[in-house]
Symmetry: C2
Amino acid sequence: MAASSSASPATLHDVARDAGVSLATASRSLNGSTRKVNEDYRQRVLAAAARLNYSPNFSAQAVAKGSTSTVALLVSDIADPYFSSIAAGVIRAAEAQGLIVTMAVTERSTERELELVRALRGQRPRVMILTGSRSDGSTSQAALIAELTAFARTGGRVVLISQEGLPFGTVVVDNYLGARALANSLVAAGYRRFAAVCGERALVTSRDRLAGFADGLAEHGIAIHPDHVVRGEFTRDGGFEAAAALIAGGLDQVELVFAVSDVMAIGAMSALREAGIDVPGDIAVAGFDDIDTARDVTPALTTVNIPLADLGRRAVELALSDATDVTDVTDQVIRVETRVILRASSPPR
Amino acid sequence: MAASSSASPATLHDVARDAGVSLATASRSLNGSTRKVNEDYRQRVLAAAARLNYSPNFSAQAVAKGSTSTVALLVSDIADPYFSSIAAGVIRAAEAQGLIVTMAVTERSTERELELVRALRGQRPRVMILTGSRSDGSTSQAALIAELTAFARTGGRVVLISQEGLPFGTVVVDNYLGARALANSLVAAGYRRFAAVCGERALVTSRDRLAGFADGLAEHGIAIHPDHVVRGEFTRDGGFEAAAALIAGGLDQVELVFAVSDVMAIGAMSALREAGIDVPGDIAVAGFDDIDTARDVTPALTTVNIPLADLGRRAVELALSDATDVTDVTDQVIRVETRVILRASSPPR
DNA sequence: TTCCGCGCGGAATGCGCTTGCCCGCGGGCG
DNA sequence: CGCCCGCGGGCAAGCGCATTCCGCGCGGAA
């Protein structure tokens, strides 16, 4: 006692000595290998481990067996409910398999994403899950793919969430179809004049949703006036600012504002409220994602449901499923369904 | 090419051979040790590394130098904005120091928390950050402390967020004072009759906030009727149900419902709304935490601000600050300030 | 010209652990 | 009664890397 300051952790060697057995036996007792070990010995080892408060060194184990049991997860912004829900799904599924999750945040920068992938590769994770919308036209895109490919070729599994077309396992949301269905529902509810709050032009997700929505409207001969399509960051504040711009530009007869994500929709609602515009009295709003808070804002937000936690869960399942030591089953695609949810923010007209 | 399937990653050895230098030189070139290495050689090594797409094996590095550069973070529920904001702060601060964050989720179970701490110890993280309210009276509490102590004694740093009294570095929020200040502000705003929506009795955070609030009211000779203190899970749904119970029990002349957390407050607001009770027309609401969505609900939620991301940031700073190889500077306490934020959910009466 | 010291590359050691392999022992079968 | 086989303990060889120490070569001082 007392000497306290910073001893080093007990090693397997210590345990073995304390139990009076060999290293091999200690190792085999503690994580049951294929080999059996005499129950007496096993108990002795377990007791010694407990006595010494032994905790196996994962790094050493990883080095020795040449594989880890970690999952690396890359998200744009963990404070964003969209990502945190997905992360929750990933973590839950991973922990169920005894895997540990390491997480990194790109802050929506593709350069940073590349850096992080490079860094995470050093962990030799079993699985690497990337989420967040791809931006095409990014210069680091090619480098990213190269890095991921290198990782995959050395036995790593890559799964992308919500971004199609890359040669890896993928869990996608049908943004286009979901948005189109939403548009149809809204037209059926009596809306005719729309505005849209979008993310930056390069963001595939934003673009797909806008396209789906526009096409849905087009089926009914309705178009969104170009002036009524505004853009901002793919965040709550981006939605706020875009909506503010929209208001400043004059919303004419706009009846409903479609925001390409719930967080943007919520920002937009705040902007409308601040401008003294009543939602849904003066103008209706709809979003996309069905994040938890969508039902808690007032009026509750009409949106398109995505089973977010499921996205995460299925991503790890997809990653782990591959017993198939494959050439290119690697680019499997799981498509999850969306569902239009009409709430008070878009009452029937 | 083509052979594709699962080669093993390039090792430092490969790089050294490819560059025609020794292992030592390669190592020194790639992560600049104290020793200098001839610029020519260095370039050769760098080139070889790039050519082979080399990525250093962190596990091996960890084993070799006997220390890792990871931070382990334990939260109750990553989808809860309270925790995800803290996590965001932790991750940002950790990444700024070149540390990798591994995350685990306790799902509010103390047994699970213990298991996870045990597991995470195997990672030999530099720092372990636990967040989430302590529940006293838990049987695993002692075992948890033992585990953490063992970890700390072997050189690990433990930091607790928002839970006082344990012999480790701690970042605390003054829940009591914050709630008391809130009570004072609300009384000043003209409120006199209160109800409270709380978490389970054992949750220290919930208890402190309720106590502070009650004492704040007591300063003005006001008390909360025991029937008007309801309990539920420390979640959005818990708040919803507790408020529903409150409503069912009859709210008499209650003017304001204080929920001990914003998520519970938001649940409570939903319950009130569903019961046809107008907020704040019929009844006002206040919460605690100032999560992002507090300002986006309607009416915007009166609450007590906690700089959540800062909590995370300061936790890692505290953990890393200790150059002091100490006996028990380890139980340092950083106290962060709270700030009452009055919003539309509690207009002056 | 000789010697010493310094700068820097390389061989070797070790980190904590897993696992292939050898070997001793006991039991079943011929 | 002897042989063979299988069970299971232990030895030791790594896993990929950092780091210590050794030694070589070169430059400057005497």
